[in-house]
């Protein structure tokens, strides 16, 4: 098989970067497996319990960049108790012991402690990049260790983490010699920020491209920061309240005009609406705009801003923009690829901010759209059918109708046909989230047409086990299936246990699977971890012979090559 010396093959492999492709390469033959594993620098682990750090390091000793994901997706919505697991500590300990030259660590939904961060900062002299998304368990003291000890730190990117803010001086822990920062994102911190330390840090970071501030950074500080970082590409504005005539505001206007490289704008965590106009001069350069936290900005101001953004590729917005606002987006943002419309009112039943009309308008105007997340109060089959016709290129289609089980508001029927049209037309669809009134029929369509579907989220849908069976049977590329409050039970669960080896994980909560069914799977498939999460002590799962009728509240099963995990809390029962 090998016509070239190993070094040449390795050099060729260097050009192959995607994880999928590299995984495929390693399966070709023994010698390619060997070459690939020694040259592999970046590893992605979608489920931290599918493998352990020792085996990881044995296979990839030259690891430089590691991505780890912990809790299942529904943990984002409080469906997984805090102490469930996903601890990064054992990983960092193992990596430190092995002296691997770690440079980059990206974690999602994991429990990170100050101890972990301290160990991380001291163990890898070349450490450059830390990205934490939806993590928890640490404080600003941990950040101080990273700032103080990582001499070559390039990226410190904190996205939507729950961080205990000790309002300390972590920003001043960056030594004066630290001039290598490229990304600094601390938007999720709640506490006060040492503005002087921040300004000095930004001033001595000529490579700083991405800066995202928290709400404690006021407008005058923003003006000064932008003035000493005109090279900024990605800006997250913190607090944004001030008089239009005031001096800081005028300074800001001047600074913004100089930021000709600015392409991405976000934040506005506390915002006074009329100040948005300061950004109008650079809007035509923007490719990404995230105003989804700016609840105080009225739709008219949003529209005025968006009218200038004709190069926008990514837009995250609140539904307060309204159907009218979405129509403006549709006629202005012809390059739009990704749209997310978040709810500004969680309880629902309020004014109908965006409806199916907004979605249809977007689909008609933005032909390059491939990813959408849309929260709305109502939907119709007709609208979805039109959207499918307009946009057959969807890769991700996530629709959330706020009221569970809501039917087509015109016909009062289920939305099966609408979603059916989407899966039929969008041949490259990889991710789908369903909502509204849905019967088994929609799953029949999904199983039949969604050939590329990898992730499916189901809530309050379906009638019988047939629904789930259609999906398990038809979607050959399914990786993550998460279901809540739907009438699927043991029959569906047990129909094809081997299917779960081809998937990363299955989540089922408030469905109709029983303890007996779960035990059966655990018996048949020892290569699966079958976890039952039962927080309600009164519902203690008992071995009393009635397992066939004891319904399980939350089931999470996933393939693993390292068996049962040992760090599970008492309320998690691993069968």
């Amino acid at each position: 098989m090998n016509y070239f010396p190993d070094e040449v093959t390795e050099h060729v492999f260097d050009f192959v970067t995607s994880h999928k492709d590299r995984n495929a390469i390693s399966l070709v033959c023994k010698s390619w497996y060997k070459i690939e594993r020694y040259s592999r620098q970046r590893v992605f682990i979608g489920n931290c319990y599918a493998i352990n750090p020792e085996r990881l390091l044995r296979r990839f000793p030259c690891l430089k960049s590691l991505t780890l994901k912990g809790k299942p997706h529904f943990a984002d919505f409080n469906l997984v108790p805090h102490e469930w697991g996903g601890f990064v500590q054992p990983w960092i300990e193992a990596l430190a012991r092995s002296r691997v030259g770690l440079e980059e660590l990206r974690l999602k939904r994991m429990v990170v402690t100050d101890e972990s961060l301290e160990l991380l900062s001291r163990s890898f002299p070349n450490f450059k990049s830390l990205v934490l998304v939806s993590c928890e368990g640490f404080t600003t003291d941990g950040l101080a260790s990273i700032a103080a000890n990582c001499r070559h730190i390039r990226d410190l990117d904190l996205q939507e983490n729950e961080i205990d803010d000790h309002r300390g001086q972590w920003l001043s822990c960056f030594p004066d010699t630290c001039t290598s920062l490229v990304t600094l994102n601390f938007a999720c911190l709640e506490g006060e920020t040492n503005l002087v330390a921040l300004e000095r840090l930004v001033a001595r970071s000529p490579n700083l491209k991405s800066l995202k501030l928290n709400r404690a950074v006021p407008l005058d500080a923003l003006a000064r920061l932008m003035a000493c970082a005109p090279q900024i590409v990605d800006l997250g504005v913190g607090s944004y309240e001030n008089d239009r005539e005031s001096e800081p505001y005028l300074k800001l206007e001047a600074a913004i005009k100089k930021c000709t490289s600015l392409r991405s704008l976000s934040g506005f965590l506390e915002a006074a609406p009329h100040c948005l106009s300061a950004f109008h001069p650079i809007c035509h350069n923007l490719t990404s705009l995230n105003l989804s936290y700016a609840a105080e900005i009225h739709s008219s101001h949003l529209i005025k801003l968006i009218q200038h953004c004709n190069k926008l590729q990514r837009l995250w917005i609140l539904d307060s923009i309204g159907d009218k606002g979405l129509a403006v987006v549709a006629s202005t943002c012809k390059e739009l690829q990704e749209l997310r419309v978040f709810p500004s009112d969680l309880v629902g039943g309020g004014n109908t901010a965006v409806t199916e009309d907004g979605l249809v308008a977007i689909s008609a105007g933005c032909t390059k759209l491939h990813s959408i997340l849309y929260f709305c109060q109502q939907m119709t089959n007709a609208a979805l059918i039109t959207v499918a016709k307009n946009c057959p290129n969807f890769i991700r289609f996530r629709l959330c109708i706020l009221e569970p089980n809501k039917p087509d508001h015109v016909t009062s029927g289920p939305l099966d046909e609408g979603f059916g049209a989407i899966v039929r037309a969008c041949k490259s669809l990889r991710r789908l989230s369903l909502s509204g009134l849905l019967t088994d029929q929609v799953f029949h369509y999904i199983g039949k047409y969604a050939h590329e579907l990898e992730m499916l989220s189901i809530a309050f849908a379906g009638d019988t086990d047939k629904g789930m069976l259609y999906v398990l049977d038809g979607c050959k590329k399914m990786r993550k299936l998460e279901i809540r409050d739907s009438p699927f039970g043991d029959t569906a669960l047990l129909a094809d246990v081997n299917k779960y080896e081809t998937m990363r994980s299955l989540w089922m909560s408030s469905c109709e699977v029983t303890l007996g069914g779960c035990k059966r799977i655990a018996q048949i498939a020892p290569w699966l971890n079958v976890e039952i999460i039962n927080e309600n002590n009164n519902n203690r799962m008992e071995e009393n012979g009635h397992e066939g009728r004891q319904e399980v509240d939350k089931l999470y099963l996933y393939r693993t090559v390292v068996g049962t995990r040992t760090d599970a809390p008492p309320f998690v029962w691993i069968l």
Partner: protein, 191 residues
């Protein structure tokens, strides 16, 4: 035989009841279980009503239960908390402001709309932080205590609590800070 009869009657009553329950909620489950246990008899005797129950259970979603469903809508907690906090602050559902006291390890939050005048507010703060605020004088400020209540107004300036009329205070106060000791002198308390 009797048992069966009872079951039938029970199901009959249930059959005519308009249900708005969501699948997965206890009531519906209960109902389904009852139907299942009387299932065989039910199916033979009342095929129509069974269909009826299924359709009414699902399509009648006229008024949604306002009760919060856990984890719904599927919005990340971080974002949810942010929206909730903003709503509470802006919707006249109370005017919540943060209160810090020099030396205290954490802050508190109070709803200004709960009070009618300054004395009430002072009393509440005194209780919350276990201190005494002294007496307010128009020209000299607070005398008789090491603690002085101050607030940050809409312009970002730190003001002495009590100088402006109550309504103006409530509408312009963004946060409160109970200052202590030496810093107090700088506020021009007229001493």
């Amino acid at each position: 035989m009797e048992k069966v009869g009872v079951c039938d009657e029970f199901v009959n009553l249930k059959a005519t009841e308009l249900r708005l329950g969501l699948p997965g909620t206890e009531d519906v489950c209960q109902e389904e279980k009852e139907m299942v246990s009387c299932g065989k008899i039910n199916k033979r005797a009342l095929p129509e009503t069974e269909k009826e129950i299924e359709s009414t259970g699902k399509t009648e979603t006229a008024s949604p239960p306002k009760a919060q469903i856990i984890g719904w809508p599927p919005v990340r907690s971080f974002r949810k908390n942010s929206i909730q906090a903003k709503k509470n602050e802006s919707e006249g559902q109370g005017m919540y402001v943060k209160v810090s006291m020099d030396g205290a390890p954490y802050l508190r939050k109070i709803d200004l709309t709960v009070y009618k005048q300054y004395p009430e507010l002072m009393k509440s703060l005194e209780n919350m932080f276990k201190f005494s605020v002294g007496e307010y004088f128009e020209r000299e400020g607070y005398k008789g205590s090491d603690f002085v209540p101050t607030y940050e107004d809409k312009d970002g300036d730190w003001m002495l609590v009590g100088d402006v009329p109550w309504e103006m205070f409530v509408s312009s106060c963004k946060r409160l800070r109970i200052m202590k000791g030496s810093e107090v002198k700088g506020l021009g308390c007229g001493v």
